[in-house]
C-alpha cells in the first residue's frame, strides 16, 4: 500500500492552515518589526467567537462570519492601539512581552468563558470523505486548500499589483525613507495588522472544522507560525508561505514514512518540527528562501 500520495495531501492541508496563520505574522513583522506572540491566540479566540455565534447561538454561516469579522477587526484595532503601538518606539522586547501578556489574557479569558474542554465546529457530515485516486479527503479539507490558495494569491496581488501594496513594500524595505515620502506607517500597519488578524481567525475557524478547538492551542500555533517564519526568513512573506508548506510536509513525512523499519511515533511530530527550526537557526539563520536583502 502506498501512502505517499495521502501524506502529500495531508501535508498540503496542514501547510495551508500554517500558511494562512503565518503569512499575517510575517506581514506584521515586516512592517512593525515586532514578533506578535499572541498571533496563535488570535486564531484560537477568533475561532471561539465563531463557535459562539454558530454553535451556541445557532446563527447561519454568513451572518456568523460577518459578526466574527467585525469583532475581529475591532479587536485587532484595540490590540494594536493598546498592546503594540505604545511600545514599538522603545525596544523590541517590550512589544514581545506585552503580546505574551495579551496571549495569556486571551487564553485565560477563553478558558473562563468556554471552559477548557475540547470544542468542535464540525458536524458529522463534514467527516464523510471522498476518495480521489486512492486519496481520502473531506469537503472541509478541499475548502481549506482552495481557500488558502485563493486568499494567498489575493494577498500576493494586493501586495505586488496595487499602489497600496507598493506602500507596504516600501515601508517594510525602508521605514524612514517611506515615511519621508509621506506614507503613514500607522495607517498602513493598522490595516495590515487587521488583515493579518482576520487571516489568523480564518485559519482558526478552519482548524475548528478540521480538528477541534482548545484554549491552549494558541501557544502551539504561535510556535508553529514562528517556525514557518524562521524557515522562510523573518518578515519575508513568500518565504514564510513556502516555509509553512515545507513544515506541513516535514511533519507529515516524519510520522508517515518509516526509516528502515522504524517510524517516528505520532506524538513526536511537534518535536520534530522544533528540531528543524533549531537546525535552520544553526545553519541558515537568515531563512531558507532569502537571497540578498529584499524582503518581498
Amino acid at each position: 500500500m502506498d501512502i505517499l500520495p495521502q501524506l502529500l495531501v495531508n501535508a498540503l492541508i496542514t501547510g495551508s492552515i500554517y500558511a494562512l496563520a503565518s503569512s499575517g505574522l510575517s506581514l506584521t513583522y515586516g512592517l512593525l518589526r515586532i514578533l506578535n506572540f499572541a498571533h496563535g491566540h488570535f486564531m484560537m479566540a477568533g475561532a471561539y467567537v465563531f463557535y459562539f455565534f454558530v454553535v451556541e447561538h445557532e446563527l447561519a454561516l454568513f451572518p456568523a462570519a460577518l459578526l466574527t469579522i467585525i469583532a475581529g477587526a475591532i479587536f485587532s484595532f484595540l490590540a494594536l492601539k493598546i498592546f503594540i503601538f505604545p511600545f514599538t518606539a522603545f525596544s523590541f522586547f517590550l512589544a514581545f512581552v506585552t503580546t505574551i501578556a495579551l496571549g495569556t489574557l486571551l487564553e485565560s479569558a477563553v478558558s473562563i468563558v468556554f471552559g477548557v474542554n475540547v470544542k468542535s465546529l464540525s458536524t458529522g457530515a463534514s467527516f464523510e470523505s471522498i476518495e480521489i485516486g486512492g486519496v481520502y479527503i473531506t469537503p472541509v479539507q478541499i475548502i481549506i486548500i482552495a481557500s488558502a490558495i485563493i486568499l494567498l494569491s489575493l494577498l500576493a496581488c494586493v501586495i505586488h499589483k496595487t499602489p497600496f501594496g507598493r506602500r507596504v513594500r516600501a515601508l517594510s524595505e525602508s521605514e524612514h525613507a517611506a515615511q519621508a515620502l509621506g506614507m503613514s506607517k500607522n495607517k498602513i500597519s493598522t490595516l495590515c495588522f487587521t488583515v493579518a488578524t482576520l487571516f489568523a481567525i480564518y485559519a482558526g475557524v478552519m482548524v475548528g472544522y478540521e480538528t477541534n478547538l482548545q484554549p491552549t492551542m494558541g501557544n502551539a500555533y504561535t510556535i508553529k507560525a514562528f517556525a514557518a517564519m524562521i524557515l522562510g526568513g523573518l518578515g519575508n512573506i513568500w518565504g514564510t508561505i513556502a516555509g509553512s508548506y515545507l513544515l506541513g510536509l516535514i511533519e507529515n513525512l516524519s510520522i508517515g514514512l518509516d526509516f528502515g523499519g522504524y517510524s517516528l511515533p505520532a506524538g513526536y511530530k511537534d518535536a520534530f518540527a522544533f528540531l528543524i527550526i533549531l537546525l535552520v537557526l544553526l545553519f541558515r539563520p537568515q531563512g531558507l528562501f532569502v537571497r540578498g536583502g529584499r524582503k518581498f
Binding site: 506585552t98 501578556a101 485565560s108 523573518l234 537557526l281
Partner: protein, 289 residues
C-alpha cells in the same frame, strides 16, 4: 500554619528560580525563554534519579544542576549566534522541544502521567516529610543561593554582562569575550534553575509536564519584569509579592477550573501594566557607538 509553611517553601523555590533568570535576562538582556526548560530538566533529573536509581539528595541536586547547566550550553551554542528577535524565537523553540519530549518520551518520563512518588530527601536523620523541616532545607538553600548571586552581581563579570547588553561591539573592543560571558551567564542561571526544579520535585513529590509549560515561563517573566530586570532586591520583593498575590483568590468560592485561568489573567495583566508604566526605561536602549 501548614498553609503558611507551604507558601514559604514555594517562595524559597521561586526565589532561586527568578533570581537565576534575572542574571541572564536582567543583566545580560538575553531573552532566554528556555529558562523554564532548565527548570523542567532539573526537576525531571531529580525525579528520575531519586525514584529509579535511589540516588540521595546531594547526588540528585548536583546531577540536576549539571544537566541543566549542560543544557544551557546547548542553547547558548545555537542561540547566541542569533540576533535579539531570532534569539527569543530560538529559545522558544528549545523550550517547546523540551516540553514535546517530556510529553512524548513515555518510556523515560511517563508522558502526561508524570512521575509520582518522589521520596523526600534523607540525611542527618531529619524527617523531611515534615514540611517545616523541608522549609528549613529549602529556605537555607535559597538564602545560600541568593548570597552567592548577590556576590556575583557585584563582580566585573556582571558589569561585563550588562555592558554587552548595551553595546556588544564596544564591549568587544574592550577585549571582553562577550560570547564566553553570555555562555557562562547561561550556565549559571540554568544550573540554579535546575536546583529550583530539583527542590520543586522533592517538595511536591510528583511532577508532570504541565508544571513546566509556557504559563510558568510567563509567571517567571512577570516576576522579573515587575521587580525591574537586573535589580537584585526588586526581584526578591516581586517574588514575595507575586507568589502571595493570587492566594486570596483561593478563599473566594470558585470552581478550580476558573481559578487557574484567573491567576493567569492576573499575572498577565500585571505584566502588561508594569511594562506599560515603565516602557521608557525598563530595558536599556541599545546604544550605537
Amino acid at each position: 500554619m501548614e498553609y503558611v509553611i507551604h507558601l514559604c517553601i514555594l517562595i524559597s523555590i521561586y526565589l532561586i528560580l527568578t533570581q537565576s533568570f534575572n542574571i541572564s535576562f536582567g543583566l545580560g538582556l538575553l531573552f532566554n525563554l528556555a529558562h523554564v526548560a532548565s527548570y523542567a530538566i532539573g526537576a525531571y533529573a531529580t525525579a528520575l534519579f531519586a525514584t529509579e536509581l535511589g540516588a540521595n539528595f546531594f547526588e540528585c541536586v548536583v546531577v540536576s544542576m549539571l544537566l541543566s547547566g549542560l543544557f544551557s550550553l546547548l542553547i547558548g551554542g545555537i542561540s547566541l549566534r542569533l540576533e535579539q528577535d531570532y534569539f527569543a524565537v530560538g529559545t522558544l523553540a528549545f523550550s517547546a522541544l523540551v516540553s514535546a519530549l517530556l510529553i512524548n518520551w513515555k518510556s523515560l518520563t511517563r508522558g502526561v502521567l508524570g512521575i509520582p512518588g518522589i521520596p523526600r530527601p534523607e540525611f542527618l536523620s531529619i524527617d523531611f516529610y515534615n514540611n517545616l523541616n523541608f522549609l528549613f532545607l529549602s529556605g537555607s538553600l535559597a538564602i545560600f543561593v541568593l548570597i552567592i548571586l548577590y556576590l556575583l552581581f557585584q563582580t566585573p563579570f556582571a558589569r561585563a554582562l550588562k555592558a554587552q547588553a548595551e553595546s556588544e561591539s564596544a564591549t568587544k573592543a574592550l577585549a571582553c569575550n562577550t560570547a564566553l560571558i553570555c555562555n557562562v551567564s547561561f550556565f549559571i542561571s540554568s544550573a540554579f534553575a535546575g536546583l529550583a526544579g530539583s527542590l520543586y520535585a522533592y517538595y511536591i513529590n510528583y511532577i508532570d509536564p504541565s508544571s513546566f509549560s509556557l504559563t510558568e515561563m510567563v509567571f517567571i517573566l512577570t516576576i522579573t519584569v515587575t521587580g525591574r530586570p537586573g535589580s537584585f532586591i526588586g526581584c526578591i520583593l516581586a517574588t514575595f509579592f507575586l507568589v502571595l498575590l493570587p492566594e486570596p483568590l483561593r478563599f473566594i468560592d470558585m470552581s478550580p477550573g476558573i481559578l487557574g485561568p484567573m491567576r493567569q489573567a492576573l499575572y498577565a495583566t500585571i505584566l502588561f501594566v508594569v511594562v506599560y508604566i515603565n516602557r521608557r526605561n525598563i530595558f536599556p536602549v541599545k546604544r550605537s557607538v
